[in-house]
Symmetry: none
Subunit: 205 residues, 4 copies
């Protein structure tokens, strides 16, 4: 006579964390329910007590990642609420930082093959856009204040995102030229972004 109620939240947490860890160490491709279970010293069956199937587990992870990123970015936006350009840079920096600090989230949130990600509720991915909205709003504010010179804030946001996502991807897939210091690379990317929206460079785009 029971409605479904939350079971042992510790195990659920353990499953999610173990999955995240394996995502980093072994990669998405070689991740299996059995392996997660083995890593936890639990039976594979136990996972199904908390997640309907593999997709549901991944979806939960994606949801979680989306929330974390959004929370982080909102915090940053608030912190720099009175300085548009500082906020813009901080948001970009925060995006990259999230990718590097939480590669497992980043991978399933932004790097999954569409054939895979299409199995997850569109809703989750719509939430991803809210991060970009934080940037767009900032750009719009900047335009109003006169410190940002762009034509189309929507387009500009996506161009910015391309830079950010490219940087994170190159770093996560370990394809950055060994002679380049990652931190310098990141800063160059950030500088590039900020300047591109302050110098009127994109205005004719």
């Amino acid at each position: 006579m029971q409605e479904e109620q939350k079971e042992n939240p510790d195990l659920k947490r353990l499953i999610l964390d173990t999955t995240r860890r394996l995502l980093v160490t072994r990669g998405f491709a070689s991740l299996s329910m059995r392996r997660i279970a083995r890593e936890m010293n639990y039976s594979a069956t136990s996972i199904y007590l908390h997640f309907k199937n593999k997709d549901a587990l991944f979806h939960a992870l994606i949801e979680e990642g989306m929330s974390i990123l959004l929370r982080r970015q909102r915090k940053i936006a608030k912190k720099f609420s009175d300085d548009v350009l500082a906020r813009l840079r901080a948001l970009c920096e925060g995006y990259i930082a999230f990718g590097l600090e939480c590669p497992e989230y980043y991978e399933i949130m932004f790097m999954l093959h569409p054939e895979l990600s299409s199995r997850f509720p569109r809703e989750s991915f719509r939430r991803a856009r809210r991060n970009l909205d934080l940037m767009k709003v900032t750009l719009d504010e900047g335009v109003k204040e006169g410190v940002v010179v762009i034509e189309d804030s929507h387009a500009a946001t996506n161009v910015m995102w391309a830079s950010l996502h490219g940087a994170v991807s190159i770093l996560l897939t370990e394809r950055l030229d060994a002679r380049i210091v990652p931190q310098n690379f990141i800063e160059s990317v950030l500088d590039n972004i900020v300047r591109s929206v302050t110098t009127g460079q994109l205005s004719a785009a």
Copy 2:
């Protein structure tokens, strides 16, 4: 005078082409030796006559992709040998075009998880850098001619690459905002890149 390659080159070609086709149609995840063989109307064992194992097959494909991209880019560089800025833009455009026209190559060349790509000879990936060198050389020329204003051409090349790779990745994983026209997005990215190296914007990076 090479001895090691006495096998039927037609079948080898067929294997590579079939694999590429399957990569596009079915995706990386569901690609298997059996499936390749079935698709070719050959026995699975036949593949092993030409490739030691699955990794070797993939490595051959990566090698091939690297060569194709390099050939394309060299052709472009030659075509615009007398106009530095046009060449730079064309190279960037060519990079994106390659990614969109040959997603199967691009994916295994640049988007594979490091756990996977680590199984392939580093040599292959070093070759990837030769593409970037074409850009770097162009930047250097531009600096000499005075039409490009940057501080460190090596760093600038990688920042450019971040933009390009980000754009291709977003498009291939189908994550571009539906309200944005892909072609416009690409052109914005290209504009952004060219201007960032011509306006002295990166000079203080």
Copy 3:
């Protein structure tokens, strides 16, 4: 005065009913304790409070089916107590009706593989014979009255049963020729049975 049955009879009832429903909608093969529980909005463990195991649950269902069939047939026999031939036909008709109206009971009572049914107490199945006894008694009465002409009522009953069971089985497994109207088929079978015992046809068997 029975001690062994102190459990919530409502839940027990719910379990049995849910099981029957699932038998009809999903079929025997895909019936599981978990599924029953899910369908009831109860935990799977709850079933074990009322039934030792899956076999016990099934056995209870078989028992129940046997009782229902017997009750139905007794009612029919009583209704036609004064007309032997009408009673015979009504009993046969009732048997088929039971099979078609309660396929879930019929299936586990009469169509289970012996490897499965052997796990259930023989006692249950002996009870099945009491239905046939109703028919046999009717035949015997008919013989005494002179309206039925057979040699061995015991044998004749089983021959009749073969027809009835065959008809029900063909209908339940949906193997009747599509060009035949089920109701006509049933009536033909009933006619055939009644005549075979009234025309002396079986007398030399």
Copy 4:
């Protein structure tokens, strides 16, 4: 460059025979690919070299059973080509004999739950009707010769089939009253059938 060709026919035969054996001893429900493999001392994978999946294996078995029955019945029909009534009885006898001698075939051909059998090509089951056609043709001949008195040979055939199928089912599921000698039971059923079509009993059906 090979079209699909028949592989090791011995193993294929072994798989089919082992499956049949297990069907008899363990029943349809508890039959699994693993068990078949174990029983053969082969790996489960080997089965998939010869059958696409479990359904395909069963379908092959059904096809085989249909062929065998049809061949048997045609042989019988030929043997008694000049005596209609003898042929009719022999066909009925042959049907029952097939069921008892090849219970594994009979089970999957005629006793499977429709939910299961619906997964197999309708074509197979259409062939089942050809057996009945042999009987119908015989009835028609009998009518022409004046030795058979029925109204609708199509309907009569199905009524006959109900008797036959019922008898086989009762015997195979081991539900025949222990006090009845199976052979007598069978003969009673056969007698009943033959007489029902010779005495004009069904004429008003």
